[in-house]
Symmetry: C2
Subunit: 337 residues, 2 copies
DNA sequence: GATAAAATTGCATAGCTATGCAATCAAAGG
DNA sequence: CCTTTGATTGCATAGCTATGCAATTTTATC
């Protein structure tokens, strides 16, 4: 007596029990359908008795729309992306959309993941990854599948990107350090393929003005360890900064720990330090990190707005690229808060 | 010219182009099907030219199995659960299963979430939440849908639970503190509904032996802030421990910060402190936390093994409750490492 | 070269719901 | 009581693939 030997209850079963037609059952479960209140109630009762649950699969076949969105995530080790995912799932649910989650790591190319998803006739793709492959983008475009990215650079008729204003935040960071009297600034960048990080660095350099000539640039890979290592190396080389801007909060935490342990430097007394993302750990007392809040809620809201538009019947290709202002959250590491 | 005006390419289209029957196309995309290599190649070429992608939806209708597993998560603010999710998604993918993700918070009850999922004919449910509602459990059981929980207490013919050996770890924690000469131990518990936390506390108390009489118990809600607040309150009341076991790492980090900031107490010099979960942040230098590693890989592996068995054709109800040993990871907060 | 065996291919169908259309029924107006 | 209008219901079908079965072709064996 295995799981699959039990034929699930169908609308026909319910119809038989309620003494109505199958279409009446279908209508009883549809909001806008025309059906007499009494009939509906009778059907719902019969359905409850039998444990009937409307099957969405046939409707998907007819409409070609599954109500599912493929969400592709990469490094969930960064709490910022976790938070974004959390909000995204909730927001999509509010639009009646389900989330088909794919986790992409080195072993699995994005292409293969999407191949899988396309078999399920997903309505759209949302991703925090930079979709590197133009081929993938083109393929999705050909299938008329809207793609929404976070902080990417990709463009195309069916591709949208929501970003925080990385460059502007970089400028603000530079101004803040200047205000605090910083004269030996350091920029701790993320990996080159991270477009957002590059923009933050550009803004920072631009905002420094004359000071930019003395700027020391370090590179990490967006992890805590890489921040710790980059700063350790810098201290070993004898560089002792009095201000730092880190491309994300995890690296910033690593930087703070390295400054203290390897250089005896404290924030903000010796180094005015800023991060980016406003992850929960940045607020932990050991770090008390001043940072930029990307406004996950607003990013997600924008993404869902675009999605709703793109999924409207009869809509053409939708391609938008809203930019959300990142807000400075001042805490101890900059001497504020 | 909207997205839905473009009829997707079907197997019939491919068949026409390749000059074969529709069934041949179906077989070309099936691994075990009998088809001549030449024919398959011809079909695959035609499929590539047309951009055909096999549609899984009709197969779901026929088989009643969607190849999708509903994964229900709660607080992703705990990196441990994020890590578990990450591994789970990968492991399920290796079994050819897709993940339909649901995030449950106050606004959304588990019942309503599952209601949604059942319309998609999910094959199973995996959750890190304690499914409180026996009604839900019964409903899923009636539908012959396997449910796999992490660290729960729920039982039933179709319900399995994988846990780490919380009680044993508690005992180990107590022994370690005793070894280190602790005489004023403190237990920082999670919320009462957290079965795992209760088991850890029981084990800890049992392992303390005679010392248990002097045990001070605090309660948090598994967040950093609650750990910080609980310990702050304790210090205010004049309690100054020399050893602590915290029900999870986030609370442990909060505890460390409170001990230092509010009591001037350092780990391990003044307080030998242990956590549970081995989250990445525990390894950050500011905390250097000794903790128990639940072995996410092994937990997930066990879960997927059960799942595979439960989804085997003709299998009856599967209910297993494996317990995985948690391994002590010694770092600085206990004076080890 | 003939027969047996195996491999390949095509035909026809099941699977379950939503929906257009026609039919039926009830209510309202004269 | 009859007609008109609107509400409700049933009928029939589309949607696309996987698969059992039969037909056909190829290969193997003697």
């Amino acid at each position: 007596m295995g799981a699959r030997d039990v034929r699930p209850v169908t609308s026909v079963d319910v119809a038989k029990r309620a003494g109505v037609s199958q279409s009446a059952v279908s209508r009883a479960f549809s909001r806008m359908a025309s059906i007499a209140p009494g009939t509906r109630e009778k059907i719902l009762r019969a359905a409850a008795e039998l444990g009937y649950r409307p099957n969405r699969i046939p409707a998907i076949m007819l409409s070609g729309r599954s109500g599912m969105v493929g969400v592709v995530v990469g490094g969930l080790s960064n709490p910022f992306y976790v938070s974004a995912l959390e909000h995204l799932v909730g927001a999509l649910r509010d639009q009646g959309l389900q989330v088909l989650l794919v986790h992409v790591d080195d072993a699995l190319t994005l292409d293969s993941a999407l191949d899988q998803l396309l078999g399920y006739r997903i309505d759209a793709v949302v991703t925090a990854l930079a979709i590197g492959s133009a081929a993938v983008a083109r393929a999705l475009g050909a299938l008329r599948i809207p793609v929404i990215c976070f902080n990417s650079r990709l463009t195309g008729p069916w591709i949208s990107t929501v970003s925080s204003d990385n460059r502007a935040a970089g400028v603000v960071a530079a101004r803040l350090l200047a205000e605090r009297g910083v004269v030996r600034p350091v920029w701790l960048a993320g990996p080159l393929r991270n477009v957002a990080s590059v923009a933050r660095g550009d803004g920072f350099r631009a905002g420094l003005g004359a000071l930019a000539g003395d700027l020391v640039s370090l590179r990490g890979d967006d992890t805590y360890e890489s921040g710790y290592d980059a700063v350790s190396g810098m201290l070993t080389r004898g560089v002792r900064p009095d201000g730092m801007f880190c491309s994300n909060d995890m690296m910033a935490c690593g930087a703070i720990d390295a400054l203290r342990e390897r250089g005896g430097l404290l924030c903000p007394e010796d180094v005015v330090l800023l991060g980016y993302d406003n992850i929960p750990q940045g607020a932990w007392r050991a770090y008390d990190l001043t940072t930029f809040d990307q406004g996950v809620e607003r990013l997600v809201e924008a993404a869902c707005g675009i999605l709703a538009e793109a999924l409207t019947d009869g809509a053409g290709p939708v391609s938008q690229n809203p930019v959300i202002e990142a807000l400075l959250v001042e805490r101890g590491s900059s001497g504020g808060g």
